[in-house]
Structures are given as C-alpha cells and as structure tokens.
C-alpha cells in the first residue's frame, strides 16, 4: 500500500469514487469505453492547436478519466490493469487531475463533434471536475464564484443596493435616450409575464447590454421584470463540476420565478447560463420546470418578426461578425435566431469560418476566466478566435455571451484586432426605430394598462 492509499487518505478517494460512479451513471458508461485512441481529436481543440503538447490532446485528457473507468468497470482492468492501461484511483491521481480537467479544457465539446467515434469527450473530462468538486479540489478562484452564487445569489456578490443604483441610472439614461419619461426597468414586480435573468457582468461591466434589453422590452410593450434577489442567469456549478451546488443555484431562480408569479423566464445573452438553466437545470433538479425558459435571442427575433419593434439596418452600416458561444450553440442548440436577427439589423453580416456548432471556443469558457492561474493559456488558446475575427474583416463582433465578451475584449487588446465587442441585444437596440414622439404618447397613455407601471426604482 502506498502512502496515498493509507486509510487516513481514503476518505477523499472514496468520496471521489462515489462521485465518479454517479457521473458514469448519469452520462452512460458507453462514453468511457468507446475511444479507440486514434489521436485525431487534437486538431479540433483550440488549446491543443495553439499549444500542441500531449498534455493538451483531448484524448490524453479524457484518458485520465477513462483509465479509472477501465480499472473498476472492465474485466481486464480489474485483473490485468497494465494491459489495458487501467489506473486505480488514488489521491495522487486526483491531484494530477486538477490541471488536466480545469486548466487544459474549456469543456467546449468541439472534440466530441469531430471525434472519429463520436463519443462525448468533454463530458468525460467533466467527470474529473465532478470528482474533484466532491473533495474540495476545485481551484479556489473558481470555487469562490460558486460560493458567491450560493450565498449572495449572484456570482459577483453584487449587493442589492448596487444593482438598484445601477438600474436607477440606467433607467434615467434610457428615458433620455427614448425621450420618454414613462420608461421603467421593473424590479421585483410580481405578476409580470417575463422574469428576465441577466449576467451580473451586465451590472458591473456591460450596463449598456441591460439598457438595450430594457429599451427593447419597452418598445415591444413587454410585461417584464428583473429580480433584485436572484437575477443571475449564470451557474458556475456547471464549470466547477459540483452538481449539488448547480442544483441549488438553479432552485433559487426557479423559486424566485414562482414567487414573482411570472409566466416565462427569459435568459439574457449568456452561453453557459443558457445551457445551465435551459438544459442541465431540470436534470440537476430531477424534474422539468413548470415555467418555460428561453433565450432572449428567440424573444428578440419574435419582436422583429412580428413587427413589435421596428428596425433600420442602416444604423448598423459596419461589417458585423458573430461569435458562437460553445454553450449556447453547440451545447444549447441556439444558432439560428442570432443569425436571423443580425441579417435583419445590419447592412453587412459576415460569418466566421468555421461557425455555428463547429465554432472555435474563445478560450474563456469552462471557468477559465475565473482561474487566473491559467490566464496565459487562456489568452494563447484564444489566438485562434482572434485569427478568425481578423479574417472576417469585421469592425464589430457580436458576442451573445458576456463571459465570451470578457475574453474577446482581452483578445481584442492583446492581438490588436481593432474591433468592438457588442451583445446582439445592443446591436438590435442600436438599429431600433424609436419613433420618439409617437412612442412617447403611446407609452404615456397605455402605460398603466400595458405595464402596470409602478416606478419601482
């Protein structure tokens, strides 16, 4: 028995093993034993392409998990471990997994799409995160974000007062821009149709995105509100691998939506927020939601398509390209509305190559933005996205994810791309025909009916 296998250290190993078994059951054992190790996945991975070391090869990363599977789930792994490269789970193995699963993979899933076999490589790698989360080995910077979400309701621990102050000045700005004093940003208003979840980055760093959304909602005469308690669309449990925390964060929002009595939850532009809430959330909670949830992009497209908002594409004359967030497009299935919107609201839309579900990760996914220890690798891996942006010849990059926007801003600076990064909502708002006088009259006369206006800020 080695040092790491002594009973004193067994607790962590046993906990990790339990989490491993649970993760295997959730994903399905087929994904842990299908790999033929052809090694061709390397050139699908933005991290490997920008730093081609074996440690960055997707199959190498997944293999660190798969060899544990073989040890405990296969006949040869049990009785002839070296033959099949099976590996017992030890504390040392767990320690070595930290960098592999958190620092060398953004869980973007591109390797799985292009895999010769077609198994879910990134979910296999995420199993490592689940094991490490179980024993408290999540990098502290990432864990801090999860803790913030659990304890304060939002990942940046923004105090309620700060949110309300921000909403107040945004509301004032919006009234000026729309020349309409009846414009409000409803907060904690019960009985509205929509609960709009935002990324706390919108409060801290991208307030124009929230302003644009409020402007669009107003123009479309939508009945909506945000919550001052649980408004965070994101869920860092997805990244840390902690499904229990992820479920708790999801539950906070669902309970808030029920408390406010809304009909629908609309998710701001956030890739991992969308994936977490729309797809993983019900599975974390173990039941389907009783309130529907959809991306803001679908709603905006509905507004445009039905004429609820009027658009003048000449207001966006410059070339715009679109970044496809992995969790929104590849994992979330949302690839069409943003394209339909951009083709309608700007004069010159240019796709990146590749795009859609085949897009490259910007490098900021998987919690990388929070983990400063991997900052250099994050920027380096983003160089591929920077090249794509440059090749598109665009002046504006539409990024329907505030996490990606953060990374793209850094890439813009680092690689001197000379572009602007904007959310799709902002681009739409910029193209929106406000018809100020008429709109003002409509809003003033119908305000009580359509919004049940009670200035809440």
């Amino acid at each position: 028995m080695t040092q790491t296998e002594r009973p004193g250290n067994q607790t962590d190993v046993q906990k990790a093993m339990k989490a491993f078994v649970s993760a295997v059951r959730k994903l399905g054992p087929v994904h842990y034993q299908s790999c033929v190790k052809c090694g061709l996945c390397g050139e699908t991975c933005h991290i490997y392409l920008t730093d081609p070391t074996i440690l960055n090869l997707p199959v190498y990363k997944a293999e660190q998990i798969m060899k544990i599977f073989r040890r405990y789930y296969t006949f040869l792994g049990r009785f002839l471990a070296p033959w099949v490269g099976a590996q017992s789970l030890t504390k040392d193995v767990l320690e070595s997994l930290v960098e592999t699963v958190y620092g060398r993979c953004t869980a973007c899933g591109r390797c799985g799409l292009h895999c010769s076999i077609g198994f879910d490589v990134s979910s296999v790698i995420r199993t490592g995160r689940t094991m490490l989360a179980e024993i408290g080995k999540v990098p502290s910077s990432l864990q801090a974000v999860v803790n913030n979400q659990i304890t304060t309701g939002n990942q940046m621990a923004i105090p309620r007062r700060e949110l309300l102050d921000t909403v107040e000045w945004l509301c004032q700005d919006l009234r000026l821009e729309m020349n309409n004093d009846s414009v409000i940003i409803p907060v904690d208003e019960p009985g509205r149709r929509i609960l709009y979840l935002i990324n706390p980055r919108e409060v801290k760093f991208f307030p124009l995105s929230l302003l644009a959304a409020a402007g669009i909602f107003h123009a479309a005469q939508e009945s909506w509100t945000i919550s001052s308690r649980f408004y965070d669309v994101t869920n860092y449990g997805l990244y840390s691998g902690d499904d229990t925390a992820a479920a708790a964060i999801t539950r906070q929002v669902i309970d808030e939506a029920r408390h406010l009595g809304v009909e629908e939850i609309v998710l701001s532009e956030c890739g991992y927020g969308f994936r977490s809430f729309r797809w993983e959330g019900p599975n974390w909670l173990g039941r389907a939601y009783d309130i529907s949830a959809r991306s803001m992009l679908y709603l905006i497209w509905d507004y445009i398509d039905t004429g609820k908002i009027r658009i003048d594409p000449s207001r966006n004359p410059e070339r715009i390209t679109l970044h496809d967030p992995c969790n929104l497009v590849r994992w979330g299935g949302v690839s069409e509305p943003q394209r339909k919107i951009l083709k309608r609201v700007c004069m010159d839309f240019q796709e990146m190559m590749p795009h859609g579900a085949d897009n490259y990760c910007c490098g900021g996914g998987g919690g990388m933005l929070s983990m400063s220890e991997y900052g250099d690798r994050r920027i380096l891996s983003g160089s591929l996205k920077a090249e794509q942006i440059r090749a598109s010849g665009a002046r504006i990059v539409a990024a329907p994810c505030h996490n990606c926007a953060d990374q793209l801003l850094e890439l813009n600076k680092k690689f001197k791309l000379g572009v602007e990064i904007q959310s799709v909502t902002e681009i739409v708002y910029n193209a929106m025909v406000l018809e100020m006088a008429e709109q003002s009259e409509i809003s003033n006369s119908d305000a009580d009916d359509s919004f049940n206006v009670t200035p809440s800020v």
């Binding site: 059951r25 959730k26 994903l27 399905g28 054992p29 087929v30 994904h31 034993q33 299908s34 790999c35 033929v36 190790k37 052809c38 090694g39 061709l40 996945c41 390397g42 050139e43 699908t44 074996i54 090869l57 199959v59 190498y60 293999e63 296969t74 006949f75 040869l76 070296p82 033959w83 099949v84 490269g85 799409l113 292009h114 895999c115 010769s116 076999i117 077609g118 198994f119 879910d120 797809w279 993983e280 959330g281 019900p282 599975n283 173990g286 039941r287 389907a288 939601y289 529907s292 497009v329 590849r330 994992w331 979330g332 299935g333 949302v334 690839s335 795009h355 859609g356 579900a357 085949d358």
Partner: protein, 206 residues
C-alpha cells in the same frame, strides 16, 4: 458440420452475446433527460451517422485524409473477413469462392492496418496515449484479416483459420475491439442528445 465450424459458431455466439450484453449495460443511464426538448432525438442520430461523418464536414477526416483512407481500407478488410467467417460457418468451401476479389479487398486492409500500427509505434503522441491493448488490437486485427486472405490461398487450413477467428472473438469484447459495437452506441447516444437540444437538425444547412 465440422468441429472447426462448431468452434467458429460457438465463438460467433460468444462475441454476439457478450457484445450485446456489453452494449446494453453501456447504455444504462440513471435517468433520462427531463428538460423540455427543442429538437428530435432521431434527427440527431440520423445527422450523427450521415452529415456529421462526411469528409467535408469532419475535421478528423479532412485534416487527416491519409489516416482516414487507411482506416477505411482496414475496416473494409475487417468487414469482408467477418462476412467470410459467416459464410465459413455455413460451408467452409464457399468462403473461398472469390479469391481474386478477396485479395483486392483484403490486401489493402492488411497493409493499411500495418501502416497504422507502425504510425502508432513511431509517433510520440500516439505512444503516449497507447497501452498494450491498443497494440494488441491492431496486431489481432491484422492477423484476422491476413488469416482470411491466406485461407483463400489455401496457405491457412480450416483448423488454423477457425482458431484465429475464435481467438479474435474471445478477445473482442474484452479490449479496445469492443468499439465494433460501442462506436454505434456512443455516436447514436451523443447525436441523439444533440438532436434533443436542437443542435443537430437534419437536414441542416451551414
């Protein structure tokens, strides 16, 4: 039915049964997805086995065309030899009916499998991700295809052919060769999941 045929038939039952058992166990999942679907599972599966595998779409193919072609030859050789084995169970003499075609199909397969094995040995990254089973799987496959080819040429007799085929069948569910079944299941499962989410829509234009 000869003793050799009975042995091969038994091996065939073993490999079919064990791979079926493995496949069923592999697909067991704790819970099904409870999120509201955006697309259809079957669309995703159809997409995963068609468009998603086209050389023009799949980077692991179009960026590694040589390896892809070698892989195709290898698998044609394998499937041909499996078909030959099935015929052998019915009547060993029938399995030698098409020696020229067999040679044309199988010989590139043997060569391809050998080249891929050498590439695995000499490439540093491939060595780093390979274990003994990976090499063994390649060697066993080469022997299997070669046995079929040599059987046509009467170099290998009934007993040797039956022994080799049975040996492969016994080993198949234990190591990497089980991907013969798991490939279909993994691709269907992942494709179906992406179909459910609306990522894989069939047909999709991008």
């Amino acid at each position: 039915m000869t003793v050799q045929q009975i042995i091969v038939l038994t091996a065939a039952f073993w490999v079919t049964g064990s791979l079926s058992f493995l496949g069923i166990r592999s697909m067991r999942r704790q819970k099904s997805d409870v999120s509201t679907p955006e697309g259809r599972i079957w669309d995703g599966i159809a997409y995963a086995f068609t468009y998603s595998m086209l050389p023009g779409h799949k980077e692991t193919v179009n960026r590694h065309l040589v390896k892809f072609i070698l892989g195709v030859f290898l698998h044609i050789g394998v499937f041909w030899t499996i078909a030959k084995t099935a015929v052998y169970i019915v009547n060993p003499a029938y399995a030698r009916w098409f020696p020229v075609i067999s040679g044309c199909v199988v010989f590139p397969g043997i060569l391809s499998a050998s080249v891929l094995l050498v590439m695995r040995i000499i490439t540093r990254a491939m060595r780093a991700i390979s274990c003994l089973d990976d090499y063994a799987a390649s060697i066993v496959t080469i022997i299997f295809i070669a046995a079929g080819f040599l059987y046509d040429l009467h170099v290998v007799n009934n007993t040797v052919f039956a022994g080799i085929v049975s040996g492969l069948a016994v080993y198949m569910p234990l190591g990497k060769l089980k991907h013969a079944v798991l490939f279909f299941l993994a691709r269907a499962d992942f494709g179906g999941r992406l179909g459910y989410r609306g990522t894989y829509r069939f047909p999709q234009i991008h």
